[in-house]
């Protein structure tokens, strides 16, 4: 398939990563939304409740929660349940400090809404050096007949 034009990211850190997108319309806190033993979004009523963040590219509009997130990223990375990247609309320093400490790719700001282009299950690439988010391929089940 022909790839769509990449979304430009405002700020970015970390290695180039590819993976399945997990797209949230709601902000994310690793402390208050996440079961830090399984990787499941556990807070009742969260837009992603029941989804697992492990190895995903988590696309979320905002950062929630406090200081404790800094250790939490390192903790979930060590447990093998971290996402491959956090792609935030807006974030706060705690998320960035935590992701850098844990060595997880993190970005903030996007030139166009990813919600129009990327859906959960699609394969995407995050390139921090080029500051781009690119759709690689559609999720198979949804892509059929299109």
């Amino acid at each position: 398939m022909k790839t769509a034009k990449p979304i430009r990211l405002k700020r970015a850190f970390g290695p180039v990563v590819e993976g399945e997108a997990l797209v949230s319309t709601e902000g994310f806190s690793p402390r208050y939304d996440l079961d830090r033993w399984s990787g499941l979004i556990s807070r009742p009523g969260h837009a992603l409740e029941g989804h697992n963040i492990k190895d995903k590219i988590l696309i979320t509009p905002s950062a929630k929660g406090g200081i404790a997130a800094g250790w939490a990223f390192y903790d979930i990375r060590a447990k093998g349940i971290a996402p491959r990247a956090f792609v935030f609309g807006v974030t706060n320093p705690v998320m960035v400090q935590g992701a850098v400490f844990a060595g997880i790719t993190i970005t903030e700001g996007w030139s166009a809404s990813p919600y129009d282009m990327i859906r959960t299950g699609d394969m995407v690439r995050v390139d921090p050096a080029k500051k781009t988010l690119t759709l690689i391929s559609r999720h198979k089940a949804r892509g059929k007949g299109k």
């Binding site: 850190f13 905002s62 406090g66």
Partner: protein
């Protein structure tokens, strides 16, 4: 980023591997936010307890301590998750308690002052206007920026530790004038007679403007607020809105006038908070038909003045049968409260005063909730009402005296 000779030496590893790695972390974060240089900090406050760090964080810290790394600037710790005098009563996990003790020993080897308090700004260090510090938890940061006019970003545990080791932080966010100016105005028309009212304002303003760089400017106060009221307001703004700074015209140091608070810019929005808005907040909580058997004063820890007030409210009364009342404070405040007789008045009621901890991070809290049959948690802290939902509590914000009445009667007066 421009680096000084000293910073270049740190990056080369001249001051050891822990300092080298700390500056590398700070450099990457600084680059992310477009910082041009580092600024020296005079004081560091870090969160590091076993509940938030996990085994991986603990191992990291042990490696750093083993390497002989020491903090270059006074570094204090935030509330922890175990009060060692109450481990049995709370049936906390002995293994985790041991890890918490090891963690404390490790931090002390690195010359960290394990004060275990989230009200360092009331009890330990009061930075002055323009002073750069590196603090975390969010409630401490918003207080430092707003009430003292000091300069700090939210510093996560590893980031604060890095600042302690290197004695500096990258200059971005609230270290820069451009981010400290007000962005919107909040006209306070409500009476705001209780600590919970100030927290409720924080909920209203924070939840509707979730943005680290949103800076509310408060006007219209009917009187000058107390330090504890500003503490509740700040903690709630940071909790609901992820905010790191506010101004209060005529009260906080960078807001002598409305014009000064906005730094010449126009407010993006003007909102008001009325008594009716506060009543709507209080009315938004319900018991869901479950008992009101848990009341907590915590998040932030109680100051000595709050302990005095609680002693007066609880004096001669008893916590209702089947109910529990918890209060958290610092070691220093608890000691003073004991000397002054406040502690006796509080404990004679059946209330439990925990030191050095915050209720919402207590080790084993989810298990404790189930074991004790807690569903509702009543508190005068809007912050606590917000964050403890993660542990599946249904929270109810009430004014301070109402919380005490609920603890002693098991019934909501509303």
């Amino acid at each position: 980023m421009r680096l000084s000779a000293e910073e270049k030496a740190m990056l080369r590893g001249d001051r050891g591997r822990a300092v080298q790695e700390a500056l590398q972390l700070q450099l990457e974060v600084g680059k992310f936010f477009g910082a041009k240089r580092f600024v020296q900090v005079s004081n560091v406050h870090m969160m590091g307890d076993i509940e938030v760090m996990g085994d991986a964080g603990k191992s990291f810290l042990e490696r750093a301590a083993q390497s002989g790394a020491k903090c270059a600037k006074p570094t204090t710790t935030n509330a922890r998750c175990v009060d060692f005098a109450h481990v049995e009563r709370l049936k906390q996990d002995k293994n985790e308690v041991r890890k918490e003790q090891e963690l404390i020993a490790c931090l002390r080897r690195m010359d960290v002052i394990t004060a275990d308090t989230c009200i360092n700004y009331q009890t330990i260090y009061q930075p002055h206007l323009g002073e750069h510090v590196a603090w975390g938890d969010t409630g401490t940061v918003i207080y430092a920026n707003s009430v003292y006019g000091a300069r700090s970003n939210f510093e996560a545990g590893p980031a604060a530790l890095a600042a302690g080791l290197t004695g500096r932080v990258a200059e971005y966010g609230f270290h820069l004038d451009e981010h400290r100016r007000g962005t919107f105005q909040v006209n306070l028309k409500a009476d705001l007679d209780d600590l919970a009212d100030w927290g409720a304002v924080g909920r209203i303003v924070g939840a509707s403007h979730q943005d680290y760089f949103a800076v509310p400017v408060f006007t219209g106060m009917k009187r000058s607020p107390t330090a504890d009221e500003l503490k509740q307001l700040g903690a709630a703004l940071a909790s609901y809105g992820s905010m790191g700074m506010f101004h209060m015209v005529g009260v906080t140091p960078e807001a002598p006038t409305l014009k000064a608070a906005f730094g010449g810019r126009k407010p993006k929005e003007v909102m008001t908070v009325s008594n009716r808005d506060l009543e709507k907040v209080y009315a938004s909580y319900d018991t869901q038909g479950n008992p009101l058997n848990l009341v907590v004063f915590s998040g932030p820890q109680q100051s000595l003045l709050e302990m005095k007030q609680l002693a007066a409210l609880l004096n001669g009364r008893k916590v209702a049968k089947g109910s529990q009342l918890f209060i958290t404070t610092s070691n220093g405040v608890k000691s003073a409260a004991k000397e002054l007789g406040y502690l006796k008045a509080i404990e004679d009621s059946g209330a439990v005063v925990l030191e050095g901890v915050c209720f919402y991070i207590l080790q084993n809290l989810p298990q404790m909730r189930v074991r004790e049959g807690w569903s509702n948690l009543v508190t005068n802290s809007a912050k606590l009402a917000n964050i403890i939902g993660a542990h599946k509590f249904n929270t109810i914000l009430r004014r301070t005296a109402e919380c005490v009445d609920i603890a002693c009667s098991g019934r909501d007066v509303r």
